[in-house]
């Protein structure tokens, strides 16, 4: 008997495995899947063209209800609050260049200029197109909107001055996305969060938030104001995630008090973020 060729070995292994799977049953019915498809989502834009750092950009912030997470392999790690002020969600106004100026003492008050019109991340400039042939389910001009270089002369806002009502200039997460972000007044803060849990979905760690009734209303107000534009999610004075609101939908759908934050989190970071968020109530 002659030895099987490489092609035969591979073909046999692949087809056997594919054949075995054909009889596997889906985890939910088609009707269940359709029922959750209308729920709103946030998507992290593909910023590969905006910044050169690609590794940590495979981030998707999506909103599912807990029901959509029934395959997560780890139980959520609930975290209880202690006090502080470490969490906010703010409208994202523009991406900002790294600070190039002299070293500061980190306490100097800064009056920030507005974002230049070329860099402004408003919904009109982003120009989300729902559907199209894109795999992501939407298209946008986001990759063509430049980082605002004016801010190279401005240090990041010191934590003590990053008040909810202020416009702030904050750092991003090292190795992930733009260097810095200019963000408007907070639409959601730690007091709006009822609970936060770290959980794993499809191998990726996420922070899942359940909002208070008042928080749910405030989040919908911010998200609808930023529909097809971006929000920045701030934890401990850093932007951990900056998703587009509902880019695959042609009109805004309320979030029903739930919010999932995806980032380049590992387990420890997701737990720490959840802890910081509920700690800021």
């Amino acid at each position: 008997m002659s030895e099987p060729t490489e092609e035969e070995i591979v073909r046999t292994a692949l087809r056997e495995q594919l054949g075995d799977a054909v009889s596997t049953r889906p985890p939910e019915s088609a009707a269940e899947l359709r029922a959750r498809s209308g729920r709103p989502s946030l998507r992290l834009p593909d910023t590969k063209l905006v910044v050169a750092v690609a590794a940590a950009l495979i981030l998707v912030v999506a909103l599912f209800t807990a029901g959509a997470l029934h395959h997560s392999s780890d139980q959520p790690t609930p975290v209880h609050h202690t006090g502080g002020d470490a969490f906010s969600v703010r409208p994202l106004l523009c991406y900002a260049a790294p600070y190039q100026g002299p070293t500061t003492d980190g306490t100097t008050a800064q009056v920030l200029p507005g974002c230049s019109s070329a860099s402004s991340l408003n919904a009109l400039a982003i120009g989300v197109g729902v559907g199209g042939s894109s795999l992501a389910g939407y298209s946008s001009n986001l990759a063509g909107i430049p980082v605002d270089d004016t801010f190279a002369a401005y240090p990041s806002t010191p934590p003590a001055q990053a008040l909810p009502a202020s416009t702030v200039l904050l750092d991003g997460t090292p190795g992930s996305g733009p260097d810095r972000y200019v963000l408007g007044p907070a639409g959601l803060t730690g007091g709006d969060v009822a609970s936060a849990s770290a959980r794993q979905v499809a191998g990726q760690w996420l922070v899942e938030l359940v909002l208070t009734p008042q928080g749910a209303t405030r989040w919908d107000a911010l998200a609808s104001q930023q529909f097809h534009a971006l929000v920045g999610i701030v934890v401990n004075d850093r932007v951990v995630s900056a998703p587009i609101t509902q880019p695959t939908q042609s009109s805004f759908t309320p979030f029903d008090g739930q919010l999932e934050i995806g980032g380049s989190f590992d387990h420890a970071q997701a737990t720490a973020a959840a802890s910081a968020i509920v700690g800021s109530k």
């Binding site: 070995i9 692949l14 594919l18 889906p26 899947l33 590794a55 559907g131 499809a202």
Partner: protein, 169 residues
């Protein structure tokens, strides 16, 4: 107004689920990840269902989305792979060589793994595979011969090891 045909989608879902899941499992080697990504791909298909059914092969569209999701999931997992060289222990109902196959696929560049899955797994022709991946046919042929060597070596090695593959009866 929702013009989408729910009944047609449900029939498509039932008919294609096992095939799509199998491909995701070949590419990820992890049952839960494969299930999650299959659901995500089908969710996207339903969101665009009115368009997809109009002029395209719905399973082909969903398959492309799914394969991309699987390859993306490798990149997310790669940072952790130093701590977890073997992704997950094979569960009792999964033959050992299935796990080896998925590991070998993950060692390939994403496009090569997709080419192998489409051509050798799904029995697509070289021109069909080239069209799906958007590369010349010659590229597909050279990818196939290169990636078969890697995968065949890995499977053969595992079959000759002390732990024989457990096959389903």
């Amino acid at each position: 107004m929702d013009r989408r045909d729910g009944a047609a989608f449900d029939a498509f879902y039932t008919a294609s689920w096992g095939r799509l899941f199998g491909q995701a499992y070949v590419l990820t080697g992890d049952r839960e990840t494969a299930q999650d990504l299959t659901q995500e791909a089908l969710l996207r298909a339903w969101r665009r269902w009115d368009r997809i059914t109009g002029y395209e092969d719905p399973e082909g569209w969903t398959r492309r989305v799914l394969h991309n999701l699987c390859i993306e999931s490798w990149r997310r997992g790669r940072t952790r792979s130093a701590h977890r060289p073997v992704d997950a222990p094979p569960t009792p109902d999964i033959p050992v060589h299935h796990h080896e196959l998925a590991q070998a696929m993950r060692d390939l560049p994403g496009d090569q793994a997709r080419a192998l899955l489409l051509h050798d797994g799904l029995a697509m022709t070289v021109p069909e595979t080239a069209a799906e991946l958007g590369v010349p046919e010659g590229t597909v042929r050279s990818w196939l011969s290169r990636s078969r060597k890697v995968v065949a070596a890995r499977i053969t090695q595992s079959e000759q090891s002390d732990q024989p593959p457990v096959r389903r009866s």
